[in-house]
Amino acid sequence: MQFAFNDEQQMLRDSVERFGEDEWSAADRLKRLAEGREGTARRWAQMAELGWLMLPIAQEEGGLGGGPVEIMAIMEGVGRHLMTEAYVSHCVLAPALMAGGGDHCAALLEQVGAGQVRIAAALIENDDFDVAAISARASAIDDRFKLTGAKTHVEDGADADWYLVSARTGGAPSERAGISLFLVPSGAEGLAIQRFRAVDGHRHCSLDLVDVDAIPVGAIGEAADRIEAALERAIVAHMAEAVGSMEAAVAATLDYVRTRQQFGAPIGSFQVVQHKVVDMSVACEEARALMMVAASQLASGGDASSLIAAAKVRIAQCGIAVAQQAVQLHGGVGTSEELIVSHHLRRQMMLDLAHGDRDHHKARFAELTR
């Protein structure tokens, strides 16, 4: 079990930290958010140059073959500085879904690694987080596939060039068998995209598909396992982001309670405040431990499903509680746009929803450990 970064991982971590300090300093955050897509495009190009975008892509597909621990080194920094770049969606989830998907996938992944193409995963329907609860249909006409259905939420999908869409080539809704995965370009005929901003600055979308031409990825009818495995990679990466964000929120709170004076003393001298900060730091420790164990287990290639489900639940609980307390202990200014703590709260709430909320993964954990 790996609880410390090796030299290379530490260098990567330091490099992300510098990038975060330069590009996402808390003082400039509102300016960064106001820049919108142009700012994201500029930073995305920098991240490509630094080699981060190709890091999680398999070597045989032109990437660096980085594993969960390297991704963790990046994502902690993304969380600490609350970078809104959709690294997990485009660089962790999409490559994991497309790994070994043939020449077309390899060619696209090379462009993903170079920062030229963004691919988002359209997996869920009907407001359900269950990847098997889908009814979008893919019909084969000769060698070609046409998709019809609706995807209610595509994480970070608003600005994607391609979508990875799950659809049924067989089986009934909620059956695992018969689910296939397809690539659809964002300009495809019959594809309607509704775009939304989340409260944390991420840009998502929903899709309506009517007879959309699609390119199959991987074996037909057998995508459920692949989707779940890819989602686990994305979830572990998000957990590292959550932990980075929690630790930053605690650090900001500690700073504040040491300096904020009320009743003639720093508020951190009051025991009620001290105990709250202590609980926050315990929650951080709990979350960090779970996250690192889950990342190590995933890196070792063993079955990590129930562990990842458990960690997703507990880290979301800890993350939201920590961010709420960070806001509370800052008092009124904690709720202002100007201070960073409420941005951490918003991101923690949205991280909970990404790829299944606490309830979903609690039920999943119960099912897996039955």
Binding site: D128, Q328, G332, G334
Partner: protein, 393 residues
């Protein structure tokens, strides 16, 4: 408190029910259920409608234009308003400064200001907090220096909610630096169009403009705008403690609105196992919040009974504030949960995108709810009050 309504109360209940029947526009309901305030124009319209019916000031005595309702009637009124998805009335004029004016104000102040509060003509904001004076309000530094027939006010107020729409502000300012910190603080009424006032919005996490910083730079107001005696402002604030139990009680009565929204959202959401509302885990969670909300409602009944008997409520107002604020946070969070992935769709990008049902209200409500354990005496301060005043610790 007698839970069996007397015949005249039953009649009153029917009157209130008729008043509210089908009168709340659909587009108000989502906002109200999220615990968010309606736009000032809509709130003023609502206040006018109540005033026209003679119900503009439900908690005030008759002699000042109030309804003179018994606590039982008040409870009925709030229950019916809550059930009809009516908004809570804006409280800063009605519950905060109004009662101070009718208790301590001059005859001229009573005659001029009170009717304008009831009619909705004047919108009041509260200039209390400052950058260095939040929970520790007595640390305030804004000065009001006497100059002939005027006070000259200089200072910096913070978290002045609705200063950007208010016609008037009541502020606490230091008129003397002698003695204890609480002494030498006066309560002064200020017209918002007085030269020297600058308002700067504070942007908050829910992306809704409701609060501000207010800078006062040589703001001259007539000396007659002081309420009561110079240097006694802190003591008048204590009246508020008593009134705040009513504010807490009234607000707590509106919790079921949010819970209805949760129930409706869960009844709409389809999951692989059927409707979310049919999922035992979700039902149990909703039941838990509903049960706790019922406990708060029962606590409100006790407060009202105290008020009816003219008894001191002790710490009960603080207790209701503590529990209500925690529950509004839980209820709005549960609403977000009930929406599932679509709670990530907060704002539409482009005209072709249509926001999901309940958005952005549910999420705005959940974010705004974070401030309820901070404002009006944070939960930490409420616990201090209970520890000191009730438990003698």
């Amino acid at each position: 408190m007698n839970l069996d309504l007397a015949p005249e109360d039953r009649e009153f209940q029917q009157d209130v029910r008729d008043f509210f029947a089908n009168s709340i526009p659909e587009d108000w309901k989502k906002t109200v259920r999220a615990g968010l305030r309606l736009s000032p124009e809509n709130l003023v319209a609502y206040q006018r409608r109540l005033a026209d019916r003679g119900w503009g000031a439900p908690t005030w005595p008759k002699e000042y234009g109030g309804t003179g309702w018994t606590p039982q009637q008040l409870h009925i009124f709030w229950s019916e308003a809550s059930a009809a998805d009516a908004p809570a009335q804006f409280h800063q004029g009605l519950e905060l400064i109004g009662p101070i004016i009718f208790t301590y104000g001059s005859q001229a102040q009573k005659d001029y200001y009170l009717p304008r509060i009831i009619s909705g003509e004047d919108w009041w904001c509260q200039g209390y907090s400052e950058p260095g004076a939040g929970s520790d309000l007595a640390a305030l530094r804004t000065r009001a220096d006497r100059d002939g027939d005027e006070y000259v006010i200089n200072g910096h107020k913070m978290w002045t909610s609705y200063a950007h729409v208010a016609d008037r502000m009541f502020i606490l300012a230091r008129t003397s630096n002698e003695g204890r910190r609480q002494q030498g603080i006066s309560l002064i009424l200020v017209d918002m169009d007085t030269p020297g006032i600058r308002i700067s919005p504070i942007h908050t996490l829910d992306e809704k403009h409701h609060t501000n910083e207010v800078f006062l730079d040589d703001v001259r107001v007539p000396a007659t705008n002081i309420v009561g005696e110079e240097g006694m402002g802190w003591n008048y604030g204590k009246v508020l403690l008593d009134r705040e139990r009513m504010v807490a009680a009234a607000t707590a009565m509106f919790l079921p609105q949010t819970l209805r929204a949760v129930r409706e959202a869960a009844t709409r959401r389809r999951t692989a196992y059927g409707l979310l509302i049919d999922k035992p885990e979700f039902r149990a969670k909703l039941a838990q919040v509903e049960i706790e909300a019922m406990a708060v409602q029962a606590m409100v009944l006790r407060l009202m009974a105290d008020a009816a008997a003219g008894a001191d409520s002790g710490p009960r107002g603080s207790m209701v504030k503590l529990r209500w604020s925690e529950l509004t946070q839980q209820a709005t969070a549960l609403w977000v949960e009930a929406l599932g992935p679509k709670a990530q769709h907060f704002a539409a990008l482009g005209d072709e995108s249509e926001l999901p049902d309940d958005m952005p209200f549910a999420l705005k409500g959940a974010l705004y709810a974070r401030v309820t354990t901070i404002y009006g005496g944070s939960s930490e301060i409420q616990r201090n009050i209970i520890a000191r005043r009730a438990l003698g610790l």
